[in-house]
């Protein structure tokens, strides 16, 4: 640290220089981000322009379309771009939505418990455990899913009658919505818990004390004042978790199943055992096709949809937080 105090230190790192340097750094980062978005959109454009809005709609088998796209253009034939991504989008919505819903409620209650009700020794243990869980790499969750959860669902929960009823169309082997949602929930809930509890902890103590002093019981105080004040943090945590869930590729590629099938809630209970493949794992599974120009455009189109939805989520999160800020800061 002695060198920091040397006479050179002052003039070399004057405020002006630091300001300029940091400014340049920020510009570079923003520029990089813009360049990335532009690249993705430009590469994706052929796929969107050939399909129009039908890109997002249902129609035919996605896997056959992807295969036809990849094989097209060999020997000078024309490129094929026809692609209807609905089964992939529907699978993303089901898996991400299901996991976020379950994780939101469980994480909220866990956070309230850790901050308000748990004895100190317990929250001292839970806190680091939750933070550790939030940083476990997703491949590990995927491995546990493949080795433990998938065979359990396939061999014990799915009945022979259910398998027979869809035989020849899809296999109910445990690679399913249920497995994907369960593991994804376990993966994102700790992230939510740690952000929620930070929010709950930063509620002004005076507000809670005031309520308690008026004779309101502890649960009601926490729920009506603590949780309500911490709503911006809850939105922020949910948005962050959603972004992670939507972009999750490796773990879902391992356990969600590998067919571009749209699970149908009208099928009844079987529905949660049906396999599907969300958008992000589709990119992982077809990564070797990047050398074919139409397949390249299609994969970049999927990427741009993911990028766009992530942007949309952070925007809505920001808007929601802004309108809630009047209840207090968090």
């Amino acid at each position: 640290m002695n060198e920091d105090l040397s006479p050179e230190y002052g003039p070399r790192w004057s405020d002006q220089r630091v300001e300029r340097m940091l400014g340049a750094l920020v510009c570079a980062v923003v520029g990089l981000l813009l360049a990335m978005i532009v690249t993705v959109l430009v590469r994706a454009w052929p796929s969107f322009s050939h399909n129009g809005l039908a890109w997002f709609g249902p129609g035919g088998s996605v896997d056959e379309q992807l295969n036809a796209i990849f094989l097209s253009g060999q020997g000078g034939a024309e490129y094929i771009y026809t692609f209807h991504a609905w089964p992939l989008i529907w699978s993303t919505i089901l898996i991400t939505g299901g996991a976020i819903l379950i994780a939101l409620f469980s994480a909220l209650f866990v956070a309230v418990f850790i901050v308000e009700f748990a004895p100190e020794w317990m929250s001292n243990i839970l806190q680091p455990v939750v933070r550790f869980l939030a940083s476990v790499p997703s491949v590990i969750y995927g491995l546990i899913g493949v080795v433990v959860l998938v065979p359990f669902i396939g061999n014990h929960l799915v009945t022979e009658g259910q398998k027979e009823s869809v035989a020849g169309i899809i296999s109910l082997t445990g690679y399913s919505l249920l497995a994907a949602i369960t593991v994804l929930t376990v993966m994102i809930a700790p992230l939510m818990v740690s952000i929620f509890s930070d929010g709950l902890r930063s509620v002004k103590p005076g507000w809670l004390e005031g309520s308690l002093a008026l004779g309101v019981n502890r649960w009601r105080t926490t729920w009506k004042i603590g949780v309500r004040t911490a709503r911006p943090a809850i939105v922020a945590g949910t948005v962050l978790a959603t972004a992670r869930a939507i972009g999750e590729a490796v773990m879902l590629a391992m356990i969600s199943g590998s067919v571009g099938f749209a699970p149908n809630p009208a099928d009844g209970l079987i529905f949660i055992f049906e396999p599907s493949r969300p958008l992000a794992p589709t990119i992982v599974k077809n990564i070797d096709q990047l050398s074919s120009p139409p397949a390249n455009a299609t994969l970049f189109a999927i990427a741009s949809v993911l990028l766009f939805s992530a942007t949309l989520f952070s925007l809505t999160g920001w808007l929601a937080r802004r309108s809630m800020q009047k209840y207090g800061s968090a």
């Binding site: 690679y175 067919v259 050398s291």
Partner: protein, 275 residues
């Protein structure tokens, strides 16, 4: 102080990397998962017993992906489990050794033999129940498991069993031979396919009455119906490859020692001289 420790760290890292460039060669390859166990054994033996200056880095990302790596120059060689396709332009295929693609079922499945036609019908979704394969066995729904399109094994299966028709939508496509093996091991109703080196914990079926075993693997004359060559893929016509790589390939194809390593690791030597 901070800058100094940073500099020390950089020098230390460079120091770690330095011995690799001192006269030694590192050969970078990727591709076939089916060939991986045998290749890794060959690499280890070559570095230990033949030429300690040659090191290998091999990423098993699937044979088709490996050929792409060779085409765009990120790999110096690739392993592949299928014969060349038109899309492989600009590469050379050299036969390394032979392998059999076994059709595997769970150990709880009493089935012993399967025909190519039955396998075709299962993977095309025409047969969906084990009772349609053989009477007196399981009466449950079949769970077919296969490889995804990254694998050369997928293409070999497509050509040898499916007559180049795509697999049905009920086939669960997994990313590696080990995952197929794992899925068959865990599911009593499953059927899968994987190379000879991936047969622990599962039960290989006889195909058209011929067992999937090393002594039956032969391409000319064809004995086991799903016998195949595993190939090493080089860029161009192979002449631009580093001499160290060429020497390794000759050793692997011809030396008796390599033959022993290949059969121990689950492959079948094709050209190696008997010791």
């Amino acid at each position: 102080m901070r800058i100094k420790s940073l500099a020390i760290a950089v020098i230390a890292l460079a120091g770690l990397a330095a011995p690799a460039s001192a006269g030694a060669v590192t050969l970078i390859g990727s591709g076939s998962v089916a060939a991986q166990p045998v290749l890794q054994a060959l690499f280890a033996t070559y570095t230990k017993q033949v030429n300690p200056k040659v090191k290998f880095v091999y990423t098993a990302n699937g044979g088709n992906a490996g050929v792409k790596d060779v085409q765009n120059g990120t790999s110096q060689f690739a392993g592949n489990a299928r014969t060349p396709l038109p899309s492989d332009a600009g590469t050379t295929y050299i036969k390394m050794f032979m392998d059999g693609l076994c059709l595997d079922v769970n150990k709880k499945n009493p089935l012993k033999n399967i025909t190519i036609q039955q396998a075709h019908d299962i993977y095309r979704g025409l047969i969906t129940n084990w009772s349609q394969v053989a009477p007196g066995g399981l009466t449950t729904t079949i769970d077919p498991v296969g490889r995804d399109t990254n694998g050369g094994t997928y293409n070999f299966f497509l050509q040898a069993v499916l007559n180049n028709e795509p697999p049905a939508s009920n086939v669960n496509a997994l990313t590696a031979d080990g995952l197929v093996q794992n899925a068959v091991k865990q599911d009593p109703n499953a059927i899968g396919y994987a190379g000879l080196a991936w047969q622990s914990g599962v039960k290989p079926l006889k195909v058209n009455g011929v067992p999937c075993a090393a002594n039956k693997i032969s391409v000319e004359p064809l004995k086991y119906p799903l016998s195949r060559y595993l190939f090493i893929v080089l860029p161009g016509d192979g002449s631009s490859s580093p001499p160290a790589l060429k020497k390794f390939i000759d050793w692997m194809r011809l030396s008796p020692l390599a033959g022993e390593v290949i059969s121990k690791a689950g492959g079948v030597p094709a050209f190696n001289k008997k010791s």
